[in-house]
């Protein structure tokens, strides 16, 4: 079943078309890889889906709803979470606080969600609510084997751990769909292996994962399906096996052989 699809999604900056009529779809329960050379428009596509940027044309459909142009915080609340290419942690907050912020809108009664009453309510039930949030945050840290460093400031973590913390924070929003923007960038092979295990564990939690990655070994070994972008356009999609043999993709990466 298709969880998310974009219809003719286009984003132009003045004359430069960063994403051009892309039809990108994500199947529920699978790990989807999004690859392509630098400047192919992968991150722009992510931004347009997650509400940090607004498409010039086209639509984004998530779980049957048109979410085109919704603000980022609303999209997050619908169940799409993401990480960033350049890590964007709340650097001066502790590890556990970073994850707790992910729980922000998951608290309180649903009929008043996001309203003043809800804020008031959480003000009254402060202790109980905080304990709940804290407990859930700790569970996510355990998932990443990071409980021991929960009171560190985020900026003091080693690089690999910072990437994992960002994923933990995104997961804390209980997403149906998780976007990872180059999660393995800057990681050493051991860290990458650990990351692969974690991504598989995330899929086992029934969370659909989409990832941008340049590490081909990682992409090929964990993705169920792969979409390739080049110059803002979709070049190919299919299983890793198919992609590896696709002539267009090979040309895009290696250049045309004469």
């Amino acid at each position: 079943m298709t969880l998310l699809e974009t219809l003719d999604l286009t984003r132009a900056y003045g004359g430069v078309v960063a994403v051009n009529k892309v039809n990108f779809s994500v199947e529920e329960g699978l790990i989807t890889g999004l690859i392509g050379p630098n400047g192919a428009g992968k991150t722009t596509l992510f931004n347009n889906i997650t509400g940090l940027d607004v498409p010039t044309h086209g639509r984004v459909i998530f779980a049957g709803r048109d979410i085109t142009g919704s603000p980022a915080h609303k999209i997050c609340r619908m169940g799409i979470a993401r990480t960033f290419q350049n890590i964007r942690l709340f650097k001066d907050l502790t590890v556990v606080e970073n994850v707790m912020i992910g729980r922000h809108f998951k608290t309180g009664k649903s009929e008043t969600k996001g309203r003043f009453l809800n804020a008031f309510n959480s003000y009254i039930r402060l202790h109980q609510e905080e304990e709940e949030i804290y407990e859930r945050a700790c569970e996510w840290l355990e998932f990443f084997d990071m409980e021991g460093m929960k009171d560190e400031l985020a900026k003091n973590l080693p690089y690999g751990k910072q990437r994992e913390l960002e994923i933990a924070r995104a997961l804390a929003t209980d997403p149906k769909l998780l976007f990872l923007d180059e999660p393995a960038a800057g990681m050493n092979p051991q860290e990458t292996d650990h990351l692969m295990t974690i991504i598989r564990k995330i899929r086992d939690l029934d969370i659909t994962v989409v990832l941008i990655e340049h590490d081909m070994k990682l992409v090929m070994s964990i993705c169920d399906t792969i979409t390739v972008l080049n110059y803002g356009q979709k070049l190919a999609e299919g299983t890793p096996y198919e992609i590896r043999r696709n002539q267009d993709v090979i040309e895009a990466y290696l250049g045309k052989e004469e």
Binding site: T50, G51, L52, P71, A72, H73, C76, R77, A81, R82, F84, R88, L89, F90, K91, D92, L93, T94, V96, E97, M100, I101, G102, R103, H104, F105, T107, G114, A119, S122, Y123, L126, E129, E130, E131, E132, I133, Y134, E135, C138, R169, A170, T173
Partner: protein, 300 residues
Amino acid sequence: MWNFFLLILIYTGIYALMALGQNIITGYGGMLSLTQAGFFAIGSYATAILATRYGWSFWATLPAAALFSAFFGLLIGLPTLRLKGDYLAIATLGFGEIVRNVLNNWDSLTNGPMGIQKIPMITIFGFVVNPYKKYAFLVVLSIAVLVAYLLFQRLARSRMGRALAAVREDEIAAQSMGINITKYKVYAFILGASVAGVAGSFQAAFTLSVSPGTYTFMVSVMVLCMVVLGGMGNFKASILGAFIIQLISYLPQLTGLTAVIPPQFKQILFGLILVIMMIWRPQGLLGREQITYRKKGGKR
């Protein structure tokens, strides 16, 4: 001597209220606002006008002052949706100047540069809190500061405080965590403004007269100094900062050295405090407050 010390404590209280407000805007929200003086003025004038012209009691004007200031906080908070850092600082500074300008020129409402005199004193069940009897006034004021402190402290420890911190640390990441950043920025301004309005209300009830000359840019800078010196993101520190800055402010008088210390001494010192704190101790004397969390059913 002791009386003078009490007076410093009273001014500390009034400024501490403003500093708490500044802290929620700057310390938590990370927005440099230079308009506490403007909200302070609005609160003062709300109390002065409602009390002298319409005969309201202080206790009725207090929430009105808070509401008026909050409304203007909303007005100035809205532009912040689009402004950052430097721009915001200038826009808020401009807003403070506009407030003073309007107060000075709207003669029919504010009595212009003459100001408003003979503001009635605070009464509690028929007992007059005469500002000349400083103990009584100090007690009332301290309760207000304490209440404000507790409310803010609780807010900071809730998910709302944490959301505000997230907005300060990284707006884009905060958005992607489901936080409506515009709403939180405006909230911060409204809260910061309303507590400054309350401070203004107390100021009017203490000096028993208001005039536009009080609410200068200097006041905003002093409040900023308090927050920076104490430590951003720490409400206790704001109160401590208010006390230290007021002590410095009245140091020449307190030590009886007015003849020796040049009159510009304290302004220069405030400037030095801003520069030195930024370079050597940007986190302030106390630093940001670390919150300890506990799990359900954990030890009390």
